[in-house]
Amino acid sequence: MTLTSNAPAAPIEVHDLTVAYHHRPVLWDVDAAFPESQLIAVVGPNGAGKSTLIKAIMGLVPLASGEVRVFGKPVNETRRLVAYVPQRESVDWDFPTTALDVVLMGRYGHLSLFGRPRKRDREIARQSLEKVGMQDFAHRQISQLSGGQQQRVFLARALAQQTKVYLMDEPFAGVDAATEKAIVVLLQELRAEGSTVVVVHHDLQSVPEYFDSVMLLNLRLVAFGDVASTFTPENLHKTYGGRLNLLTEVGEKLRRQEWNARQ
């Protein structure tokens, strides 16, 4: 299939994407185009392939079939256009390095083979730390930061990449309410600047509040679209199967919202 429309290419498109580990598929035939300037949640049960989808878009896992395009180009040509916030547990926080240094790593993609970060890179790193309110911790060793602070350092690192597309793997995991609010404000600022932010998200309750679009994933793509029309109890049932407790709760909440809207 070739794309020959004149419309500007979507920030991220995946076509017929299948990923398998040890011959067991973890993502099956996912087809989606992520809209520009939106906050997009990816939700689904554990093992649904949410993180794998993010990694596949980043080119970090081999694809069994299908393709990923970023602004219409294969991801190898556009790596610098995508910023990546991995799960916090994916790195060793006892590593001998400081918060500022971790943020500076976001600039490595802009440096030449043997190039060192320059003054401008340091300036960008410092500004990114300021945006997440971590400037006072710049020279702290990273193990001395709390979980929420570590998460904010990771966000600052993504900001330092200065891109238009952000992929975040559970940025709200293990952060306190105040940090969560601060992160949401930051995401909204990114959207206002025209960035597209894709977030793997676990807390179903806050999906309607935080996000514009939602992707419901469980091995296959269940539904993808704006929150109002897609984040329905029926679709959630299809995604999560029989785990009713949680779903009734969310469904209840949604019904109440609808009710309030009608009033």
């Binding site: 980043m58 970090l60 060793d92 590593f95 001998p96 790593m105 490595y108």
Partner: protein, 299 residues
């Protein structure tokens, strides 16, 4: 220069070279990869020896480098396709290759000067005896020049590849995401570990080289929170171990390479006890003070 000074200098170059690459092994939680490679290179060295019929260093380093890379490759292949745990696949790979090397040594090189004792424990005491010549001019011990080259190569490697090595050690995901070839840097590191191991081989042997790869970097890790400082400090600690080890060995009339490893271990114990940030004693004192202060506050 006296032989004693040469031994100290050679020991310092070995220890410093080992420390630089060892830091990245330790940070990547692959400390035992050094152990594995230092043993697994043995067949490479013997094959190089059998082909060239000389103890010339360059072919030996090439043989060792090839086997080192093969070890790294086989280990990850077993882990990925053989459904083995990382430590198990490492254990299978290097013991097998080392045993293969031992058979090659005993079967084909029994009549020449490549004995198992030297391979295992090294003979740094004899290092000053083998000289390098420029025409008629005596340039000093051969081992000095070989290890100087290794030390320079390792220094260049960790300085020029600093950001790649750092990012691959800290966050391989981001490294790949920004277009750094994590696999390439992994195998480059393994190649440098292999070359370092061979350089260190004649001086400290296959077993004690592991101590120099792992112990000074871990000591430095306890003393600083900065990667560049950890690299510098571990190299300095390695060199100091060489000085201390030589003095200890002279005093006890014992093996110098073992004494170097023992002294580096003593540095580690001192750091584990008294490091201002991570040491057990300062931590204990801080906790007592905190308790005393809270009690005073409560009263």
């Amino acid at each position: 220069m006296s032989d004693g000074i040469w031994i100290i200098v050679i020991g310092a170059l070995v220890a410093g070279s080992c420390a630089l690459v060892g830091c990245f092994l330790v940070l990547r939680r692959q400390a035992l990869m050094g152990d594995a490679i230092s043993h697994a290179v043995l067949p490479g060295i013997v094959i190089a020896f059998l082909i060239t019929h000389s103890r010339n260093t360059l072919p030996m380093m090439m043989g060792a480098g090839a086997l080192g890379l093969f070890t790294a490759f086989l280990t990850s292949a077993l882990e990925r396709h053989g459904r083995l745990q990382a430590d198990a696949s490492l254990g299978v790979t290097f013991t097998w290759l080392f045993a293969l090397g031992v058979i090659l040594v005993s079967a084909f090189t029994g009549h020449v000067d490549l004995d198992a004792e030297c391979v295992l424990y090294g003979e740094i005491e004899y290092a000053p005896l083998y000289r390098a010549f420029w025409g008629e001019f005596d340039l000093g011990p051969r081992a000095f020049w070989i290890l100087l080259a290794v030390a320079v190569a390792n220094t260049l490697f960790v300085t020029l590849g600093y950001k790649q090595l750092k990012l691959c050690a800290f966050d391989p995901g981001l490294a790949a995401a920004v277009g750094i070839n994590a696999a390439l840097w992994h195998y480059l590191l393994m190649a440098f570990v292999s070359i370092t191991t061979v350089g260190a081989f004649e001086s400290v042997g296959a077993i004690l080289v592991v101590a120099l790869l792992i112990v000074p970097p871990n000591t430095a890790y306890l003393l600083t929170d900065r990667l560049w400082a950890m690299l510098a400090l571990s190299a300095v600690l390695g060199a100091l171990s060489s000085v201390g080890g030589y003095l200890l060995a002279s005093a006890l009339d014992s093996s110098t390479s073992a004494a170097i490893a023992v002294v580096s271990g003593l540095f580690f114990i001192l750091a584990a006890l008294f490091s201002p940030t991570h040491g057990a004693v300062p931590r204990y004192v801080r906790r007592r003070r905190l308790i005393a202060r809270t009690q005073a506050f409560a009263e």
